[in-house]
C-alpha cells in the first residue's frame, strides 16, 4: 500500500532534496526524460582524480524520481568512480527485483527505501531516471578524461 511505496525516507528527500541545483565546474552534463510521464532530470558530474567531486542535478517529476536523485547525490558524491558504479549496479538490481531482494543498507544507504518501488513496475523507471542519467554522464566524463 501507499506506505510501501512512499516510505518516510522518500518523502523526506522529496520535500527536502539534497544537493539540488546545477553547479560548476562539471565534466559532463546529460538530460534524461521519461517519455511516458514527462519526468525530466538534468545531471552534471565533476571528476577529480577518479573521484566524483560533485554530482549536481535539477529536474521535475514525481516524488519517486526526485527523491531518487537526491539519494543518489548523497550516496555517490565524494566516491571513487569504480565504487559509485558498483552502488549503481546494486540499485539497478534492487529495482529489478520485484520486491524479492533484501537491500543492503551498508551499500545503498537511504536507497534501501526504494525496495518497495520495485513492486510497482510502472514506477521503477521513475526511480531509475537519475541513476541512468548518472551512468551516462559519468561514462562521458570518464571518456573525456581519457582523451585528455
Amino acid at each position: 500500500m501507499a506506505t510501501d511505496l512512499y516510505q518516510e525516507i522518500i518523502l523526506d528527500h522529496y520535500k527536502h532534496p539534497q544537493g539540488r541545483g546545477l553547479r560548476e565546474p562539471f565534466d559532463a552534463e546529460v538530460h534524461h526524460v521519461n517519455p511516458t510521464c514527462g519526468d525530466e532530470v538534468t545531471l552534471r558530474v565533476s571528476l577529480k582524480d577518479g573521484v566524483l567531486a560533485d554530482v549536481s542535478y535539477d529536474g521535475q517529476g514525481c516524488s519517486i524520481s526526485q527523491a531518487s536523485a537526491s539519494v543518489l547525490h548523497e550516496l555517490l558524491t565524494g566516491r571513487p568512480v569504480a565504487e559509485a558504479m558498483s552502488v549503481l549496479d546494486s540499485f539497478t538490481e534492487l529495482m529489478g527485483s520485484r520486491g524479492q531482494l533484501e537491500p543492503d543498507e551498508d551499500v545503498l544507504g537511504d536507497g534501501i527505501a526504494f525496495a518497495g518501488v520495485s513492486k510497482y513496475p510502472a514506477r521503477v523507471k521513475c526511480a531509475l531516471l537519475a541513476w541512468m542519467a548518472f551512468k551516462d554522464a559519468t561514462a562521458q566524463a570518464v571518456e573525456q578524461g581519457s582523451d585528455a
Binding site: 501507499a2 512512499y6 518523502l11 525530466e40 516524488s63 514506477r123 521513475c126
Partner: protein, 418 residues
C-alpha cells in the same frame, strides 16, 4: 438534483460486469479512465463469445454456412455503424484497426495521390491544432516530411478553446486538408465545426474530424457535420479493441488510392498489376477484425437503445457536478474549460505542485482509476506549462457517488503530500 430524469446510471452499471469487481483487497472499483478506453457491457462480450462459438469463419470467401453467416454479421455491423453516425451510404464506412489507422489511411492517400485525388507537394499546407492527440499529429508530420508540404496549426486559448482568431490566415488558398479533434481527450473541449468547414470550403480544402472522443459520448451525424472524413475507435464506445472506423464521402473514397495491399481489396491480380475492389473493400486488405467489427455492431445497438442524447445529457450534468466539486479542492487547478458548456466529461487538472504520477498512484490505492501523464497530447501540456496532468473521464455508467469518491481521494492525496 443534477441527475437527468429517466436516466439510471446505477441500472446501467449492472450491464458492465467489470464494474462489480473490487481492487486492492476489497475496495470498490471507481473507473474514471473512460477517455483511455471504455468498459464493455455483457451484450458485447456475449456477442464475441457467440460469434466464436457459433459462426466463426473467414468473410467474403466461402460458400459454406459459417462463411455466409460470418459475412452477414460482419457486413451487418457495417450497416449498424453507418446508421449510428448518419452515413448516407454503408459503403462509406471503412473498418480499420483504430482511429490512428483511419487517420494514417487518409494521410497516406493524400500524400500518394491518384487520378482525381492530387498528391500533396511543396507549397501545399496541412492544418492541425495544438490540441491534438499524437495520433492526429504524427501522421501529418510524417506526411509533410515525405511530401515537402508545410504543417500549420491552430493555437489554444487560455480557457482551453481552439483559437480561431486567425482562421482565415491559417486556412488559406494553400491549405489542402484541415484535420482536427472534435472533442479533446485531454482538455475535454468540444470544438466548433461549421466555421472551420465554411472556411475550408472557401479555399477548397478537405476537413477531417478526429471524433474518437465525440462519437462515444454524443449523437454525431456525419452528414450534418458537413466534413469529409471522420475517424473514431471502437474501444472507447463499449466495443472491443482492434476495430476502428473511417467514414469518408463516397466520391473521395473512390478517388483515393488504396492504403494497404492484400487479399480482399482487389478485383483482379496479375503478376504485373492489379485492379481494386469497390469501396469500402478497397481499403480493407487481408482478413479484417471480424469478431471485433461484430462486437462494435453490438456496442452501437447497446448505445442506441439507451440513446446518445440521454448519454450526452447524463455526462453533461455529471461534468457540471464534477467541475463544481473539484473547485472545492484546495490547490486544484482545472486545465481546460471550467464550465460544462461545449465540453465533455474528460477533466484534466493539477493538484498544487504534487506530481500527477503521485496523485494517480495514491488514488489507485483507494480504488480510483484515473489517467496521469501527457495523455498523448504533449503539445497541449507544453501550451499550459505542465509536464503532465491528472485526468478523470466519465461515461454513461459514471455516478455522482464516484465523483464524490474522487474528491475525497484528492483531499487524502493533498494531506499525504502536504
Amino acid at each position: 438534483m443534477t441527475a437527468v430524469t429517466g436516466f439510471d446510471a446505477e441500472a446501467i452499471r449492472k450491464d458492465f460486469p467489470v464494474l462489480a469487481r473490487t481492487v486492492h483487497d476489497g475496495l470498490p472499483l471507481v473507473y474514471l479512465d473512460n477517455a483511455a478506453t471504455s468498459q464493455k457491457p455483457s451484450v458485447v462480450i456475449d456477442t464475441l463469445r457467440e460469434y466464436y462459438e457459433q459462426h466463426n469463419a473467414n468473410v467474403h470467401r466461402g460458400i459454406h454456412v459459417l462463411a455466409e453467416e460470418a459475412t452477414a454479421l460482419y457486413e451487418g455491423a457495417r450497416d449498424k455503424v453507418a446508421a449510428f453516425v448518419g452515413a448516407p451510404s454503408r459503403d462509406e464506412i471503412v473498418f480499420t484497426k483504430n482511429s490512428s489507422e483511419a487517420i494514417n489511411l487518409v494521410a497516406y492517400a493524400i500524400g500518394t495521390g491518384s487520378a482525381g485525388f492530387p498528391a500533396l507537394g511543396p507549397g501545399d499546407e496541412v492544418v492541425i491544432s495544438e490540441m491534438e492527440h499524437h495520433s492526429n499529429i504524427v501522421p501529418w508530420q510524417l506526411l509533410c516530411q515525405r511530401t515537402g508540404a508545410t504543417l500549420r496549426w491552430f493555437r489554444i486559448t487560455d480557457e482551453g478553446r481552439l483559437d480561431l482568431s486567425d482562421l482565415d490566415t491559417v486556412v488559406n488558398e494553400r491549405t489542402r486538408i484541415v484535420a482536427y479533434v472534435h472533442q479533446s481527450n485531454i482538455l475535454g473541449t468540444l470544438n466548433p465545426v461549421s466555421p472551420i468547414v465554411e472556411r475550408a470550403r472557401q479555399v477548397g480544402a478537405l476537413v477531417l474530424l478526429d471524433a474518437s472522443q465525440s462519437v462515444p459520448h454524443q449523437p454525431v451525424d456525419v452528414t450534418e457535420l458537413g466534413v469529409d472524413f471522420v475517424a473514431f475507435t471502437g474501444h472507447k464506445m463499449c466495443g472491443p479493441t482492434g476495430i476502428g472506423v473511417l467514414w469518408a464521402r463516397r466520391d473521395l473514397l473512390e478517388a483515393m488510392p488504396p492504403f494497404l495491399g492484400g487479399g480482399e481489396m482487389i478485383e483482379t491480380v496479375t503478376m504485373e498489376s492489379s485492379t481494386f475492389a469497390a469501396v469500402p473493400h478497397k481499403f480493407e486488405a487481408g482478413t479484417p477484425p471480424i469478431a471485433q467489427a461484430i462486437g462494435l455492431g453490438a456496442a452501437v445497438d447497446y448505445l442506441s437503445a439507451i440513446g446518445m442524447d440521454a448519454i450526452k445529457a447524463h455526462e453533461k450534468a455529471l461534468t457540471a457536478y464534477a467541475l463544481d466539486a473539484l473547485d472545492e479542492v484546495p490547490g486544484l487547478r482545472i486545465i481546460g474549460p471550467r464550465t460544462a458548456v461545449s465540453r465533455g466529461g474528460a477533466i484534466s487538472f493539477a493538484l498544487g505542485s504534487i506530481h500527477p504520477h503521485d496523485v494517480g498512484q495514491l488514488l489507485d490505492e483507494q480504488g480510483i482509476a484515473v489517467r496521469v501523464g501527457h495523455h498523448c497530447a504533449r503539445p497541449t501540456c507544453l501550451r499550459f506549462g505542465v509536464p503532465a496532468t491528472t485526468r478523470a473521464s466519465f461515461y454513461l455508467y459514471t455516478t455522482e457517488a464516484e465523483v464524490d469518491a474522487l474528491v475525497r481521494g484528492l483531499h487524502h492525496v493533498a494531506k499525504f503530500f502536504g
